[in-house]
């Protein structure tokens, strides 16, 4: 299936909900959304990937690009993902050390708030 994107605000955090396949064809749309959110002053992002069916290195590149942008404003970008097939690509590339990966949106928000 194609990529579906949605986002909503929860406190000072913007939650981005991603559904479908993030690949070389669809990743530019996610990139545009992340850039747009940062440009509008959202520096704490949580990307909910629970409904992502496919993720490739292009998608990883876009997520790291988003992380770079929020960090430039002392912000954060955390991920919500419990799917083994998606987590595997983060492990292969060593990106589990770069992103905070959480089991739920609430957990991601709580972890950041407690820092």
């Amino acid at each position: 299936m194609d990529l579906k994107l949605d986002h909503y605000t929860e406190g000072d955090t913007e939650i981005v909900v991603v559904e479908g396949e993030i690949d070389v064809y669809t990743a530019p749309r996610l990139r545009e959304l992340l850039i747009d959110l940062v440009n509008k002053g959202n520096f704490h992002l949580v990307v909910n990937m629970e409904k992502v069916e496919f993720l490739d290195s292009t998608g990883l590149g876009v997520l790291v690009g988003g992380l770079k942008r929020v960090r430039a404003h002392d912000g954060t970008l955390d991920l919500v993902c419990t799917q083994e097939r998606i987590l595997k690509i983060f492990r292969i590339t060593g990106l589990t050390k770069v992103f905070g990966i959480h089991g739920s949106v609430q957990e991601a928000i709580d972890k950041r708030s407690s820092k």
Binding site: V24, P28, F54, T58, G61, G65, K88, T93, V98
Partner: protein, 184 residues
Amino acid sequence: MATITLTISALPAHVRTARLMAATVARRAGIAASAIDEIRLAVGEACSRAVAAHKLHCPTQPIQLQLIDGSGPDPATDPSTDASNPMPGSTGSATRRFEVVVSDRAPAKDTEETPHRLEPLLDGLFLDGEDTPPGGISGFSPGLGLAVITGLADEVSIEPEESGTVVRMSWPLHADQTQNPSSN
């Protein structure tokens, strides 16, 4: 032994088609369900890399994908090969493999990054926004893609030539079906 060849234009939208076809053929060849995801991802990475290289060097040229199902009858009738050595390069005589070959026509120079250059994770490896070269695909990093392929395929060879790069990936067929492939 059966081969399916797919030729795609160098467009990102076709990478998904290549992935789906690879997964379908792999499933039919008898690859374990858990390894289908790996094949889908590795083939997608190889095709994404090829599409990105073509976009920069030869956007009108097609990219070729070969899916070779080694589970069929022996190609023993092929007079050009030694029947006692059915799979060149294979280690065991009974090893049959599902092989995927992605061939592009972009000159390897300037488009390749080895999968070993992963250290500067947050320092320029990832192409994003203003880092993207003219004609390039935003978010795509050839080095990361190759690293993923290397991590997923059971055997990989990447042959960069002046006339293009050939990425060969293969997975064993009829291996120990009870193994747990998610152990890494």
